[in-house]
């Protein structure tokens, strides 16, 4: 009994000593990487005019069209550091549309950068994951109007809708602001995921003020080599060659404006 008592006490005191002698071994403090907020300003021009959903635009090939919708996913955003290494902004998916200019990317390390990389589209794992699990404010949630193909369970990477003048004489008359022929491109599928690499863009993220990078989309480049009088509709499946041409053009649409 006494022995037990002793044992108990000694264990208790041992515990007490262990608990109180836990010193924080302080290493020499590492200076935490300074960060600052970065956002993208995304704007779209056609020729030198900002995109809108009321004007009649003309492709460089001379075909007239109007737009009613233009949206695309941007993901896998990376900042290229001076030494060529990349800082990935993980988990960011942007659904870019003309009505919204600013897209917050959160905190990034302060420093000098020499490039911006991103993808238009969604990586294959996320592309085929269940879209119903996201909260409604997440760009990957089911959108209205939709950016997801329920019949093949994948996202539409880029959607453009509008109307076009398919007459050889450019004399189609608009009704309610629309030409008689619909124009629509729904570009998706894993194989049409496209990387955009904007190099030779030097910019600095400073500790003392928020940074905004201005990325401009030149929509004329989207129509390079496309004759919208005949090539004016693609759901990707069923017209893969046209969708592929358009996806390849996506890579040439972007520039950083300093």
């Amino acid at each position: 009994m006494l022995l037990k008592h002793h044992l108990f006490l000694s264990i208790l005191s041992l515990l007490f000593i262990m608990l109180t002698s836990c010193k924080n071994t302080e290493d020499t403090p590492q200076p935490a990487t300074q960060t600052q907020n970065l956002s993208l300003k995304m704007s779209t021009v056609i020729g030198n005019k900002p995109i809108d959903f009321t004007s009649v635009f003309t492709t460089e090939a001379g075909a007239r069209y109007t737009l009613s919708s233009f949206r695309y996913y941007v993901s896998n955003i990376r900042l290229v550091k001076q030494d060529g290494s990349e800082y990935p902004i993980t988990g960011k998916y942007l659904l870019v549309n003309p009505a919204t200019e600013d897209y917050d990317l959160g905190q990034v390390p302060v420093g000098d950068y020499k490039g911006l990389k991103f993808a238009v589209g969604i990586d294959s794992v996320t592309n085929h994951a269940d879209p119903t699990v996201y909260p409604t404010n997440n760009p990957l949630a089911i959108q209205s109007p939709g950016m997801h193909w329920s019949w093949s369970s994948g996202y539409i990477f880029l959607m453009m809708e509008g109307s076009c003048d398919t007459t050889n004489t450019n004399t189609d008359v608009q009704t309610f602001g629309q030409f008689s022929h619909p124009l629509f491109y729904h570009i998706g599928m894993d194989m049409l995921y496209r990387e955009v690499n904007l190099d030779n863009v030097s910019f600095a993220v400073n500790a003392n003020d928020k940074k905004t990078l201005h990325v401009q989309t030149y929509l004329n480049n989207f129509f390079t080599g496309i004759d919208i009088k005949t090539e004016n509709a693609s759901h990707t499946m069923g017209s893969v060659p046209l969708a592929t041409k358009l996806a390849n053009n996506i890579q040439t649409m972007f520039s950083v404006i300093q």
């Binding site: 085929h128 269940d130 879209p131 119903t132 699990v133 409604t136 949630a141 089911i142 959108q143 209205s144 109007p145 939709g146 997801h148 329920s150 019949w151 093949s152 369970s153 599928m189 194989m191 499946m237 069923g238 893969v240």
Partner: protein, 316 residues
Amino acid sequence: MSCKKGKEAEVMEKANTVITLQLPKGFLYPDIPLDNLPTQNRIELGKLLFFDPILSRDSTISCGTCHLPDKLFADNLPKSIGIDGRIGERNAPSLLNVAYQPSMFWDGGNPTLEQQVLAPIDNHNEMDFDVNKVVERLKKHARYPLLFQKAYNQEPSVYALTRAIACFERTLYGGSSAYDEYSDENPSALTQSQINGMNLFFGEEGECFHCHTGFTFTDNSFRNNGLYSVYADSGRARITQNPSDIGKFKVPSLRNVEKTAPYMHDGSMATLEEVIDHYSKGGHKHPNKSPIIQPLNITDQEKADLISFLKALTDR
């Protein structure tokens, strides 16, 4: 320290307890996503939604419009009729035993029962609507918000809507046919003609069982059965973009086949006789045709026996 529960609380708790699905004899327990295990509340909510035209743009079309309970959760049309009388692209299959399907649609383009719910809602020929607008309607509804709360502990959402309907669909089974009774060691459950047909079906001559196998009578594979030389609907290739998948469609279950005419992905065959003739001749030439599809050269009597056997797969 005993908690005395009221009768009502007990009933409520019971409705939220995970239940064991009632399956036909000999059926394996299906895989169920862990976030959608069946409870009475979930199944009842799913059933209400399944039969509610609130899912469609003009509130005229429900899941039950094309998947009718008195027609084995199929319809008897070659292609179903949706909103504004629009005709769909393919034949509506029976939903019995759908819990065992590893992928949805004739082309397997959709991976889960839950995600499948999205497709008829936004399909132009079916409900022609927007699932987010369905959710808005449900949120404003007199009864649904409480039912969603009870079943999924949240307000109406795309997530809970798709889960509830899938949960109900996992309660639909068919496995009470004469053939099942025969398999359960009652030799008198089948006629001699049906037994002859069965031997042909499972034999190396008929070879039907290679694709129509197991207790669901399908291996769920995608195959080209030589229906056409040129396919208007490319089938599986639409999903994979692979030319070798042109004309491949999911092998359908043969359970209740007698009651689910017309046949094939496009409902192009009206009778079982037509189907058996097609296989007997070996189908049309196509580079992707399954090598199993060969001329059978079976007699009229054998054809009749085969059809008798297929009728023994009808639930009683």
